[in-house]
Symmetry: D2
Subunit: 378 residues, 4 copies
Amino acid sequence: MQRQSDRPPITVGILGATGTVGQRFITLLSVHPWFAIHVLGASSRSAGKPYATAVNWKQITPMPSAVKDMVVEDCKPEAFKECGVIFSGLDADVAGDIEGAFRAAELAVFSNAKNYRRDPHVPLIVPLVNLEHLSIISQQQALHSPPLKKGFIVTNANCSTTAHVIPLSALERKFGPIDRLMVTTMQAISGAGYPGVPSLDIIDNVVPYISGEEEKIEWETRKILGGTADVEPEQLVGEKVLQEFDMHAHTPLKISASCNRVPVTVGHMINVSVKFSRSPPPSPQQVCEALRAYRPSAQVHGCPSAPVQAITVHDEPDRPQPRMDRAHQDGAGVSVGRVRQCPVLDIKFVVLADNVSIGAATSSIINAEYAVLKGVVR
Amino acid sequence: MQRQSDRPPITVGILGATGTVGQRFITLLSVHPWFAIHVLGASSRSAGKPYATAVNWKQITPMPSAVKDMVVEDCKPEAFKECGVIFSGLDADVAGDIEGAFRAAELAVFSNAKNYRRDPHVPLIVPLVNLEHLSIISQQQALHSPPLKKGFIVTNANCSTTAHVIPLSALERKFGPIDRLMVTTMQAISGAGYPGVPSLDIIDNVVPYISGEEEKIEWETRKILGGTADVEPEQLVGEKVLQEFDMHAHTPLKISASCNRVPVTVGHMINVSVKFSRSPPPSPQQVCEALRAYRPSAQVHGCPSAPVQAITVHDEPDRPQPRMDRAHQDGAGVSVGRVRQCPVLDIKFVVLADNVSIGAATSSIINAEYAVLKGVVR
Amino acid sequence: MQRQSDRPPITVGILGATGTVGQRFITLLSVHPWFAIHVLGASSRSAGKPYATAVNWKQITPMPSAVKDMVVEDCKPEAFKECGVIFSGLDADVAGDIEGAFRAAELAVFSNAKNYRRDPHVPLIVPLVNLEHLSIISQQQALHSPPLKKGFIVTNANCSTTAHVIPLSALERKFGPIDRLMVTTMQAISGAGYPGVPSLDIIDNVVPYISGEEEKIEWETRKILGGTADVEPEQLVGEKVLQEFDMHAHTPLKISASCNRVPVTVGHMINVSVKFSRSPPPSPQQVCEALRAYRPSAQVHGCPSAPVQAITVHDEPDRPQPRMDRAHQDGAGVSVGRVRQCPVLDIKFVVLADNVSIGAATSSIINAEYAVLKGVVR
Amino acid sequence: MQRQSDRPPITVGILGATGTVGQRFITLLSVHPWFAIHVLGASSRSAGKPYATAVNWKQITPMPSAVKDMVVEDCKPEAFKECGVIFSGLDADVAGDIEGAFRAAELAVFSNAKNYRRDPHVPLIVPLVNLEHLSIISQQQALHSPPLKKGFIVTNANCSTTAHVIPLSALERKFGPIDRLMVTTMQAISGAGYPGVPSLDIIDNVVPYISGEEEKIEWETRKILGGTADVEPEQLVGEKVLQEFDMHAHTPLKISASCNRVPVTVGHMINVSVKFSRSPPPSPQQVCEALRAYRPSAQVHGCPSAPVQAITVHDEPDRPQPRMDRAHQDGAGVSVGRVRQCPVLDIKFVVLADNVSIGAATSSIINAEYAVLKGVVR
């Protein structure tokens, strides 16, 4: 991607800039066509130091030279007030307060943290799925005390949720609602951040448990795949009717998630099995076609970080695989393989997603790109 | 285990003695209280050489000194005619003919190979589950041409099937038939033998496919968990009614298996979800109790290689794990953890089994022990 | 090993009992023929809790049932005053003060920590090498203020130092002093304790640096392989002449160590190259014979935890290997292979040592066994 | 790199195109500015099939679309006669005959195989070191029977040799000849090709032996770092004096190599220690400066695949590392770190090289680029 010269860049700030997700934001944004890194925020331990000194750089590409000498700021809104967009890679233990303060200061926050994902007025957006949920922002602003003009928070999903909702969205658009869903994950260690998983726990091993992860998948999937609906009885917010996320209420969606950590650096592999509401269900062939044809709004509207192919479907029986396929399209799409009938539900397949790209930083960035295109970010 | 002196040892031969399973047989049998290694058989490439020269020893315990100088024989019945028991770790491409010839030569063959698993007169036995299937042997002998007096073949199951049928057997005995079953495996590289999986395919990777494995799990599980029934219309074999395996016919069992290879040396991890026929289903607490209380025939009748505890149930949320738990009881039992409700089926849990012990050689050995106890081996 | 009944067990206390080394002490001592675990000490965070609750058990064998309900004590001498032996697996940041206090309280401390290794009156003992350095203890006690009757500290070496000094000791005894030594280590992650090395730092990776390790190897090797000598000019300690460690002064030993961390769970592999003082140097064949014949004092005097074979020499060109050979003799000996001429120095070979057994807890235990045999522990 | 339009592309053929090195050639050459893939050769098993069918693609970037439908040819010169350059990734068991036949057919062969590396008339070239050895080609052609006009063979070095000779070359140019050299390698599994190292041999393990590798390093290093000299007594080849490789004869170079395989996918790590002829030796600081300033002919003359920085010197104490640094400059340069004094020799440091790029295919390509620039390829 080349920086485009026909409009001034949008200045961005990065919260949690020294962390794993923050480093990924810097890597991606340093070559972004629209956004220019303006401020880096981190804990008071890092504040005041040049970024190169404050960070323990863990990306496999070198640190962009433009940020090396930037002095890290405390995560307080004052230093970020000229930023058109704030990206947050903050840890959950501090993200709630800081992101809230940034929103109150009329800043547009795109967050990877989990703190606001369940807020009824905050959209939880996987950018290849439900960008239309951005519409809830006006309500979020109107209900804020005091009401906001420009500030808001948008969250993106857990890295494992992101992987399977993309193909599921493609299937629901084509074949109608899914009724039941079983997902078994094999998640990469990078999903736990740094230092994250101790090596003694994972080399030559599988850990069949990730704290809170199964519940997140079961809950987030419903918010993302569901729509929005008028609250009953109707309540007005200004002149609009108050909206709520319907949590896939039109078809109660039963979800069972089982999460495992495996010795893979990057790339979440997920075994998915689904039962459709409609009968008969689509054939594996029809499912493959629908996945390949899926063209989400981020592509249609030209978000520069959206992948050319949202879902790459493999015909080889043993693909996708994390090491072989995670880097495809810089990790901005997902890969699907082994689409076949499920003897218990209807259809089963595997999904691979780059948990640090589409599963984290890339999602926030595409969300922000779409918000710019739609004028939500001004 | 100490060799017992109150009866003469039963001499055993090992087919495929230089292979991975053969090496495991040697390791286990060299300290067995009943069995004494008498002949080692391998391919003509190895025949005539001292075992220590012929083998590429890959066990993590040293080669037992008693076998080092044994001269490897061709896999022909003549050299094995004094063996009371034959253990076969042969590869599938040669096991069919060789095991058939050994049976025809009135030898008792306990095989890890897949070739005879689907034979309607050959029992497929997981020793902590369905030892009673040994009863089909008299029919196997009577129908052989010419009829056999002592020769027969007993097979044990695929290493991944073995893992989950043990807890499922415990559950069916306590709570009645299972109706639906979803299993997602994360299988160790040792399951593929040696050289097996190339390291470039599996380090920092997951391969979501193992050729033929899912079909084996779906088929074998039904044969193992099912019973035997009179063939209709009745046909006599001698004075007995011809029996057939009913393949869990009393409750058609829907099974969906998804198999993955992970970078683990030993220990298959399986995520299992089941739906019971009965309603309401048992609670997780009741399931845990049933698993802990499970006491299969191999224990009741005193097979020396049977584990003290068939199923070890973990209370910690993140156990069992391959590296931590596979060596428990020398891998002769299985470990279960994370027993909890499944939002789509009824109950889900994880199982860990040592694929080279209870998943392979240990199974054959317990099967043979039970056959000795029951007088099937004479 | 069976507990021997002909004398009362020696009660032992374990400091740092919840840590990695502490867990190993418990595992080994729970089946020790002489020692009986009496008190477990850990940080104030754990004190007062049953051991099973306080610990995050990371051994691959189950927690011995005898310690599960033992209430963890603070690391203060009062609770340990009846212990004949104290084993310390404390971290270096607290070991200095605590071990000093225990010594002052007349307790016999065998420590894995590095704090006292360079103390001129504290022996640094690799039990298959320099048990005779225990003789310095009387001087340590006499110089203490106030002088001690029973209290002392004995340290054992860094896990990587331990590996190579064992074969080097065998070579020096047979062929005279070594003049130059190059060691390149490939060290297991367990050497860094738990949580230790983050998995993101080591999967599919090598880290060519371990803080402080190269200096430790270069310094400790001289203290261990060197002897003791009268201080000049003579000073008396009581009626004895003050002794000092001569640091291999008779032949100034040049040592160059390069340390690397590799993705191996247990077992340090070391590439060693040596130049002897004598010329011509011994041949590879002579070196192999000397290594195989090596019989250190711990064996001669019957320390129960000493290995039967101190140094196992492999003839196969590709052995030893960590996964295949680390468990040999429960990790109490070392394995050597690839003994051959070095075109730059004289002889080169590889050494494998189990860094958590002979490299840590087993060393302390043999040191204590020898101290019991010699009457140093009373 | 963009294909340049100001001259017609040079057509190239690739021998062993389905193998690991062949795939890497295809990946690199499909975007090369000068070379255009014209013919793909492989064994008769693959010949006649479309490349996409014949190959088991193992690169982490997708197969270039241009080669998918190319029909694979037998490795016979006829099909390659229009190729200006032949790249060979053939296995050693067939490379000798095939490459010889291609040379005899007046083709210019750049080979990764070891077969001709020791031929006294074939240059063994690491392109960031000794491109001037190409001068021996005219002699190779003149001595061939019959003499050749265009055909020749150029080899590049073993992947582990390549890594350390680059910094050593920089040091010799600046500080004069090296006298002694100790190298200890930790080599990636990809160095063994595919299927290569069985996963059971390397997960959680180190193998301290690679067949033939140590001897290769010790021999190849001398040929590469040495010069060429007139044969004594002088013999004429045409009008020139016969040349021979002097094998570093001006300073007999003692080399001791120890080779280990580690569980790393790509990237050989090497611990190097050197003694210079000159005294006093350069300081670590001077060594770092010389390495950073090194500018080999491939850069000076503008080979398009040469790295911008031949040797990247790291200041961080724990770098380079394979996973973090191997992809730098697409693996065309090498990384050096931990430059420090060696207590036994003079200076020690670590080197990291991408064994499939500069250690294999990239070397051949730069060699060919330079041959084009020098008019050796016509």
